[in-house]
Amino acid sequence: MPFVPRIFRLARDAEHPEEYQDAHGLDAAGGIAAIADGVTSSIFARPWAEILTGATIADPPDPDHQEAFRRWLQLRRQAWSQRIDTGSLAWFQRAKLPLGAFSTLLWVQVLPLAEIRPGAFGAQRLRCFAIGDSCLFHARHGEVLRTFPIQKAEELEADPLVLGSVDLGRDQLLQFRALDELCYADDLLVLCTDAIAAWALRLGESGHPPAWEDYWDKSQQEWQEEIARLRDQGQMRYDDATLMLLRVT
């Protein structure tokens, strides 16, 4: 098993968990994990985020081949459309439906190296693909080696690229960012949606990055209480919060 996971989630409004629009998926034995952040202002964003992460785990897309990716995306769009009961929609939902849902998507794969490399004894291959502002922090011995695809908190102020559940004729603008690095046993791969990423990047820029290792042993409740406190203090945006910790084995 390439990694061992821990997952934490908190809806934007803790009293309305049904409105949580993030999604995650993982196959620890297969070494793949995915996270998606449904755009709250779009409609049926949660099913869209769930479809994307589920399909990514079952059948990872190949962003390097545009035509194959478009076919993959089209299948997901059909799945989303089939999940909507259009007959029961109110006028305000009907108005939103033609634009569809939007979501970010980020996934990581931990793979054996195809060939041995000098100085890389025990290394595994870490691949990561991302569209949008969900983020990966790669940490080793308590230090963050890299963040991907976002490096600075200010990058999170702009609206991100997202995947749409309806073909609006803009797919040619979709561009995945790709990461291909090495990772080692005991590395911590932190996947998170943008509210957490923004908080963590700001802390890092101030010289006091979060101690990601400390979260490994936290309970769901302890973590949720911390997030609620950070929101109340204005240190973290009110938004759905999803944190995936993957301990490389």
Partner: protein
């Protein structure tokens, strides 16, 4: 007050509040500059459009999230010159001072069907497609302009709301009129409204003047120099200085603002009115 004013995120726990004050005087029956439509008709079309957009924006898979309270008031006088200050909402929401955006979404007075023309994807030909247009407010144009009485009432409504929502993003008041106050100097009343505060900052009072002439409109002036007349100067003094999030958002939208710009539009036409309404909402955190 918050350390950084106007930064409170909008949520169910810290709802937003928007209060519209609509001039319903007789002169609102005159045409709006650059249009053959009456000012009152264009105004309610813009307000109904804003309510529609807000309801859609707040909607989710399960319904409409209760993130904001909205009031729409009209002001005019009766034939004896007595002020009429009342909610302009019709139907199931008639008479209500402030209603949640959830109720707005669920209780339009009616849903009109209008033709919309869009280009066909394959042929490029314009095809007619019916679109739903919900209505909450109908046009009224009668009597005089008791602006001071309206602002006094706004102060009462907002005082009560703030007492129940002390941590919220400050209420935003959008006042739309086409002429001068006829019941006194409105500036002290406007100052009282702007003097109300939540822990996140002062109430924002934005003023939009509608004109019958096709004169150049302008938005967000930073000083009185260059204002065309005394009415414009009065509205300027009534208007809040745009706080930083609004200033930055307006600059991002392409408005050539200077520091100290106020939330005011003068000689507005329909396009300007809609831009003004949108700017008043999109700068608030959580409503983008």
């Amino acid at each position: 007050m918050s350390q950084v004013p106007y930064s409170q995120e909008i949520s169910r726990q810290n709802k937003a509040c928007f209060l519209f004050l609509l001039d319903q005087s007789f002169s609102m029956a005159e045409p709006l500059g650059n249009s053959s439509q009456r000012k009152c008709d264009e105004l309610v079309a813009a307000i109904n459009g804003w309510l529609q957009n807000m309801a859609i924006r707040a909607s989710g898979d399960e319904g409409i999230k209760d993130w904001m309270d909205v009031g729409v008031f009209g002001y005019r006088t009766d034939q004896a010159g007595n002020p009429i200050i009342e909610s302009a909402l019709q139907g199931p929401l008639a008479g209500r001072q402030l209603v949640s955006i959830t109720e707005i979404g669920v209780h339009p007075v009616r849903i009109d069907t209008r033709a919309q023309y869009i280009a066909d994807d394959e042929t490029g030909e314009m095809i007619e497609v019916p679109c739903e247009v919900p209505v909450w407010v109908d046009a009224v144009a009668d009597g005089g302009t008791p602006m001071c009485h309206m602002l006094y009432r706004a102060h009462e409504i907002l005082s009560q709301w703030i007492a129940q929502h002390p941590r919220s993003f400050p209420p935003i008041v959008v006042h739309i009129s086409d002429g001068e106050s006829q019941d006194g100097d409105p500036i002290p009343y406007a100052d009282a409204v702007k003097g109300l505060t939540t822990q996140d900052g002062n109430v924002l009072l934005l003023n939009c003047h509608l004109s019958m002439t096709a004169a150049d409109s302008f938005m967000f002036p930073a000083g009185e120099e260059g204002l065309p007349d005394e009415l414009a100067r009065v509205l300027f003094r009534m208007s809040s200085v745009l706080p930083d999030p609004f200033y930055r958002h307006a600059v991002m939208e392409g408005f050539p603002l200077q520091r100290g710009a106020r939330g005011m539009a003068f000689n507005a036409d329909m396009v300007c009115l809609i831009q003004f309404l949108n700017m008043g909402t999109q700068a608030a955190p959580g409503l983008r």
